[in-house]
């Protein structure tokens, strides 16, 4: 009979932990970096779950991407400031009409199994990524590529349908990893075979995954750590405990409060990095009252973003416009109603003929990330003062994803992934042919034209100007309501040196890390 009491609590707590565990897996890292250390050592990284797949073309889970990034190589890479730098391609060149990209490959690179990397592997990899049957997640990033030719052992030519300035950046994600043409998905799921700084050592499912140094790594600087173990500790606060007792040396947190707890003890250093990911109230401009731009603008003017940040995330983050990438950053003060303005909100509602108020059905995910429900509650309270009723539907994360994918909502409280290139971030949402346009719920000829221009020019200053216009266009029409971007926290114990946190959350600098 006591089964009742006991089980109920049990169930509940178990689930909550599970949910927190996934929430922590969606973020990004940052951290302390100090001078380059001496040699080697074995590092233990605390993670809340193990990779859900070891196949790089299908990996979207944060933990999987972090592991795979250290096993596989890509044609281009990002440096610590998110600039595109050479990877497996030593250099690249665009033809004058912008319709051909020629890549010069690095020589003497080998896969973990010892076989040589050459242009055949590149052609084969890109062809397979573009094939729908592979179901590769980065397929759409290659939509401008018409064909791939291996014109020599170390030269690859990409035939494009038009200029695509975002392509080099698109090639830098692990979803574009270069695989050996002899490998299959099945083989790689069991035995990863890449060109990265580490190779797979040992795996105990749901418990740990250990990487060992790749002594044949092509980089000028060889990896220092003899091994890196990603140890699964499902509860974030248990990771903090494991760091305090010295069993784990590095971990990445998204929850500011967990970071604070970790820092509190004094033995753990915590560094914070602003994220590319942004919190937004997505509006569906094809649904109900939100079709009217004036209603959307009313919503925009009725929100004090700083208050959302302060109440939901305890002020840990920055109010942001649409573009979060450092090189293209939007200025949040240039938007209409940069500060809350209830009079203006009322005017917009009057213009829309809705002075009596509107009701917006809003979906919120519980468990996907820590602050969602708090944001929703504060938004609801703020909008209520402007006669805008947010009808909140709090959903378990699976149900939220289903509804989001089907664009079955008026509005959605969301944490979306930002990318280093604004075309990569928003082209897929806000161009009329973008594969996420249905979910974004807004497009216009002006935006299509601007995104087109952004792809056609390679000049950095010109591109920045174009994406500024994109940002303005999005906010003047209140396509969505951009709120704020949070931080990621990298916690390390005292012996860890040489790690560089990135705004994308990447752990790629494990290759320069050592532990003393």
């Amino acid at each position: 009979m006591p089964r009742g009491a006991f089980s109920a609590v049990g169930i509940a707590a178990a689930l909550s932990l599970a949910l927190t565990a996934c929430s922590s897996s969606s973020g990004a890292p940052s951290g302390p970096a100090s001078g380059t250390g001496a040699a080697g050592g074995a590092l233990v990284v605390g993670v809340t779950s193990d990779p859900d797949t070891l196949f790089p073309w299908k990996a979207t889970q944060f933990q999987a991407v972090n592991v795979l990034q250290n096993l596989y190589g890509t044609l281009t890479e990002f440096d610590k400031d998110l600039n595109v730098v050479p990877g497996l391609a030593e250099s690249w060149e665009t033809s004058d009409d912008g319709k051909k990209l020629t890549l010069k490959l690095r020589q003497g690179v080998t896969f973990a199994d010892g076989s040589a990397f050459d242009s055949k592997d590149v052609k084969d990899s890109l062809d397979k990524i573009m094939d729908e049957k592979t179901a590769a997640v980065a397929r759409a990033s290659l939509s401008s590529v018409k064909s791939v030719e291996a014109s020599g052992p170390d030269t690859v030519e990409l035939e494009l349908s038009g200029p695509d300035a975002a392509l080099p950046a698109n090639l830098a994600t692990v979803n574009m990893a270069m695989l050996s043409s002899d490998d299959t998905e099945e083989k790689l799921n069991a035995t990863p075979n890449g060109t990265g700084p580490f190779t797979l050592g040992k795996r105990v499912p749901s418990q740990s995954i250990t990487l060992t140094r790749n002594d044949k790594y092509w980089g000028a600087e060889k990896p220092k750590l003899a091994s890196v173990e990603f140890r699964v500790i499902p509860d974030e606060s248990s990771i903090v405990s494991a760091m305090q007792s010295g069993n784990v040396q590095l971990a990445v947190f998204n929850d500011p409060l967990v970071a604070q707890t970790a820092e509190g003890g004094g033995t753990i250093q915590v560094a914070k990095t602003p994220q590319l990911n942004y919190h937004a109230l997505q509006l569906n401009a094809q649904h109900g009252d939100l079709k009217d731009v004036n209603v959307r603008l009313a919503v925009q003017c009725a929100i004090d973003r700083k208050q959302v940040l302060d109440t939901a995330a305890l002020g840990e983050g920055e109010v942001t416009g649409p573009i979060t990438a450092p090189a293209f950053k939007s200025d949040p003060n240039k938007r209409p109603c940069p500060a809350r303005d209830l009079t203006k909100a009322a005017e917009y509602l009057a213009k829309a003929g809705k002075s009596g108020g509107v009701t917006i059905k809003t979906i919120v995910s519980q468990g996907e990330y820590a602050t969602s429900v708090n944001e929703a509650q504060n938004l609801k309270a703020q909008l209520a003062e402007a006669k805008i009723t947010l009808d909140l539907e709090v959903l378990e994360s699976g149900a939220f994803v289903d509804r989001w994918v089907a664009a079955d909502f008026d509005a959605a409280v969301a944490l979306n992934g930002g990318r280093p290139d604004p075309d990569g971030s928003y082209g897929r949402y806000f161009t009329s042919k973008g594969n996420l346009n249905k979910v974004a719920g807004y497009s216009s000829p002006e935006l299509d034209e601007l995104f087109q221009q952004g792809k056609a020019t390679t000049d950095q200053a010109e591109r920045k100007a174009i994406y500024e216009k994109v940002g303005a266009e999005l906010e003047n029409n209140a396509a969505w309501i951009w709120l704020f971007a949070g931080y990621t926290y990298t916690a390390t114990t005292s012996g860890v040196q040489g790690f560089v946190p990135m705004a994308s959350g990447s752990l790629q600098y494990l290759r320069t890390t050592s532990v003393g």
């Binding site: 009979m1 006591p2 089964r3 006991f6 089980s7 609590v9 049990g10 509940a12 707590a13 178990a14 689930l15 932990l17 599970a18 996934c22 969606s26 779950s49 990779p51 859900d52 797949t53 070891l54 299908k58 979207t60 889970q61 729908e132 049957k133 592979t134 179901a135 997640v137 397929r139 759409a140 799921n189 105990v204 499912p205 749901s206 418990q207 140890r231 699964v232 500790i233 499902p234 509860d235 606060s237 248990s238 903090v240 405990s241 494991a242 305090q244 007792s245 069993n247 959903l395 378990e396 994360s397 699976g398 149900a399 994803v401 289903d402 989001w404 994918v405 979306n416 594969n435 979910v439």
Partner: protein, 321 residues
């Protein structure tokens, strides 16, 4: 003889019926939860899939078959020992279960032993004088056990021990009893304390009630009148006869622990069978959840049968008839 055989046959048929019911139920429930393995893996990125990509993935995960086919091919495979395959872990569900079941089993045994060590003596003490200070103490302990949520106790213990004493064996990689018995035992200590404390409450209450009831029986009075020493009386006569309900309660709790230790497994990073189900649900790995739940249900039923057997063995009344 035939009566016995019929009874055994009936029990077996009953067990199979229960398992089939559980199989149907878990299958239906899982599919009623929104989302599938594709959206669980890709999250919101699933919105970017083209129809052809989605189809390729459905085929890959076997989601393109009809539900009836899925159900019976899974159930059929179970009989041949094929419990399905977990793509996430790159292992068969059978292998996974062979690793996780013993871990949870060990945790359950330790927890039950601790619960009995706390619950039975306190229960007897409480019953020795009702409405006394001892009784009140027992009441307080059992109320605490019933009212303090396990997750609260677990996180508190873990962080206090790790931060203040640097004692956190669970932060090291998990060691099985075979790998490193000493480390394994240290890793089991806190989790089984938390679980044991929770279970001690019902055991304490059962003991108290049972002892009270037995003591009011005539044979105890007779024994006392005959001059049987008090200690011997308490242990041999009273406890001996109060054992039946205690054993029943213990069995019930043990069976429950096999599937219900998840919270504690989660907080202390113990790779048990509860976590296997939880991960399966999160990743929507249907085969993992279905097969594991069936294994848990089977274990539950077996423990109940065993308890029944034990009950017959120790209950003087059943023995007599």
């Amino acid at each position: 003889m035939t009566i016995l055989r019929n009874r055994v046959l009936r029990r077996v048929a009953e067990t199979l019926g229960i398992l089939f019911g559980v199989a149907v139920f878990v299958f239906v429930m899982l599919r009623a939860i929104p989302g599938d393995q594709i959206t669980a893996g890709l999250g919101t990125e699933a919105a970017a899939l083209t129809p052809a990509q989605r189809q390729a993935l459905e085929q890959y995960y076997g989601l393109d078959q009809s539900l009836v086919t899925q159900f019976f091919s899974w159930l059929g495979n179970m009989f041949t020992g094929n419990f399905g395959y977990s793509a996430r872990s790159q292992q068969s569900v059978l292998e996974l279960t062979l690793h996780s079941l013993p871990v949870t089993f060990e945790l359950a045994v330790f927890s039950i032993v601790l619960a009995l060590l706390i619950g039975v003596p306190l229960g007897m003490l409480a019953a020795s004088r009702t409405n006394s200070v001892r009784d009140a103490a027992g009441q307080v302990v059992s109320l605490a056990g019933l009212s303090i949520p396990a997750f609260l106790l677990a996180t508190t213990l873990l962080s206090v021990f790790a931060a203040s004493f640097g004692f956190n064996p669970n932060g090291q990689g998990f060691a099985t009893l075979v790998d490193d018995p000493l480390l394994n035992l240290r890793q089991m200590l806190l989790p089984s304390l938390v679980l044991g404390f929770g279970i001690a409450a019902p055991i304490l209450r059962t003991t108290r009630t049972a002892v009270l009831e037995v003591r009011s029986n005539d044979f105890v009075r007779t024994a006392r009148a005959k001059g049987v020493p008090e200690r011997r009386l308490q242990i041999r006569h009273v406890l001996g006869n109060a054992l039946v309900p205690i054993v029943t309660m213990t069995g019930l709790q043990f069976g429950y622990l096999l599937g219900g230790a998840v919270v504690v497994e989660q907080i202390f990073s113990v790779p048990g069978i509860g976590r296997q189900v939880l991960l399966g649900i999160q990743q929507k790995e249907y085969a993992v959840v279905q097969s594991t739940v069936l294994v848990i249900a089977l274990a539950f039923v077996l423990v109940n049968l065993l308890t029944d057997g034990l009950y017959r063995l120790i209950d003087p009344r059943v023995r007599a008839s």
